[in-house]
Amino acid sequence: MNPDHAQSVVARCLTDPEFLLRAHSRSLSETSSEGTAEDIAAEMLGTSELERLLRFRGFITKVKHNALRRRIPATLGLMGGLGVELLFFCDFSQTYVSARRKGPLEERTHLDLFSEALSGFLAEQPEQLATPVAETFAHERLLFDLGRTRPAIRETNHMRWHGAMSLVPKTTDVIRICDCLGARNFTLLDVVMRRHTLCYWRPENGDSVSIFEVDALTAAVFAALRAGGGPEETRRMLAEAHLSQISPEELRATAVAAARRGFVELRGEWLR
């Protein structure tokens, strides 16, 4: 067989994911060949080689995401560890190739495109796989967004926040996943389901984002404090959230601790 013919057919399949899918579909069809390009590819390669090419196309798309890996290393690493990375990129190939026809993708646009495709992909996956991947991606995406957006500073008569704080409930230990993948010693046992809340802090005078775990009560108090009210108003908010067990002294102690850590400057009634 002429090598240029064979290599041309394979190149067409690899540059045009829609064509590859149609050729694969033709290879499964029982209707006779009509001599189309898809028929030629189907006859030349057969179903099993076309399936290998589909995976190879996914692999190429994956490699094209190496630049994005610096933003979402754990998401991609976890998908690889769970054995669904190529499956995802096979699905994503068509959308990605179409988007790239217009030119190189800006990083945020690329992340948005990836995010949308990932949501669709995870919707079809079992929960024990979808949840860790979704939460790990949300974690890395938030780090990216916080790191690139100047914090909007909340300032009221009662307090002034010194940065942006996000409180995110998690059901998977994403920090453990990130650490194990980062050290290249990840195993499936590192996917641990555990309810907790992560607090992300981006100070107004810095680019780095700190992450720490807080208990549910502290998370609720921080959330109430972020509203910027005085002690009474904050207690009322907590009571509305069914957290009236927090005494005024406990609330004030938490607010003072937040101020000592540099998150917030207390004013007005908080100082009385």
Partner: protein, 309 residues
């Protein structure tokens, strides 16, 4: 900044493929590696990376010649490659025994101009020169007499044009190219038999991947290759998914690849060994250091045995 040392020729040296973390590691760990391998395509997008040459010898790698294909790169691209060969004083250029482009000469398959991704025309990720099918990734070619003749001729032509030795790198086999009449081992042996100047870049991870995907014994396959022609060795990670093993430069090389390297060093003395840990800018440097030291220990042990023998 001190000028780079000349590329060592008296021993097997160890290098790293360029990634964002590499310049920092080279600075922080002087003497850890002897050279840095840089993809020519990287230099097209970010030429400032070439400044590393002031600090450490550079080896150029390339994925643009499409040496097994029917579409050579455009002259402008060749001129840029020649520029970087001269500028970096690379001791050779490593190129994939593969094709990247196809001219789509079979029009019944090739009504495709509208579907070639823009990435392949912009140079952002791979070089683009307006040729119809640009896969944007190296593809193992048809292993046949016709392609063998093409590669023999093309490698001689490129060496003459570029004024540099072009090492040919074995690719990983992920699917069977229609019309192949021989395996990669036979192809490489015939290539070296027909062209006495042919030199190889042996990617041991690609070899292990191909052997796994084709159910071959990797050690037998290794020993059947023309090992006396191997000038440079690549080591990287691999990952299994969907019943196939895939190249993965985000992972350290597995134990099998180090065992293959040890076996190779018992039979041959390549000039350079490159760890390709370059797909993830956050690759843990302690793992890189550990594996560089592991490679050096293997080299030293094999050289000591050879000296005793």
């Amino acid at each position: 900044m001190t000028p780079a040392r000349p590329f060592p020729s008296d021993r097997t040296v160890v290098g790293l493929t360029y990634s964002e973390y590499v310049p920092g590691l080279v600075k922080a760990e002087p003497g850890l590696v002897d050279y840095v391998e840089i993809a020519f395509e990287q230099l097209l997008g970010t030429p400032e990376v070439g400044a590393l040459h002031d600090e450490i010898p550079i080896v150029l790698h390339c994925a643009s010649l499409s040496i097994a294909g029917n579409n050579p790169p455009e002259q402008a691209l060749v001129e840029k490659l020649a520029y970087w060969i001269k500028k970096t004083k690379t001791p050779w250029v490593g190129e994939h025994l593969a094709y990247v482009r196809s001219d789509g000469r079979y029009r019944e398959i090739a009504e495709h101009d509208a579907v070639t991704a823009a990435e392949d025309r912009t140079g952002a990720e791979f070089v683009v020169d307006g040729i119809p099918f640009n896969v944007g990734y190296t593809v193992s070619p048809q292993l046949s007499e016709a392609v063998l003749n093409r590669v023999v001729s093309a490698s001689a032509t490129w060496e003459a044009k570029l004024g540099a030795t072009v090492l040919l790198e074995n690719g990983p086999i992920y699917f069977c190219m229609p019309g192949s009449t021989m395996d990669q081992v036979e192809f490489l042996n015939l290539l070296c038999a027909r062209r006495s100047e042919a030199r190889l870049l042996l990617d041991l991870s690609h070899l292990a991947i191909s052997c796994s995907n084709l159910s071959l014994d990797p050690f037998e396959t290794l020993m059947a290759l023309p090992l006396d022609r191997v000038v440079e060795v690549h080591l990287s990670g691999a990952r299994e998914e969907g019943g196939t093993v895939w190249d993965d430069h985000t992972m350290p090389a597995p134990a099998l690849v180090f065992e293959l390297f040890d076996r190779l060093m018992s039979a041959s003395r390549p000039r350079a060994v490159t760890l390709e840990y370059n797909w993830d800018a956050t690759f843990p440097t302690e793992t890189v250091i550990r594996d560089v030291q592991r490679v050096r220990r293997i080299i030293l042990a094999r050289q000591a045995k050879a000296t005793l023998a």
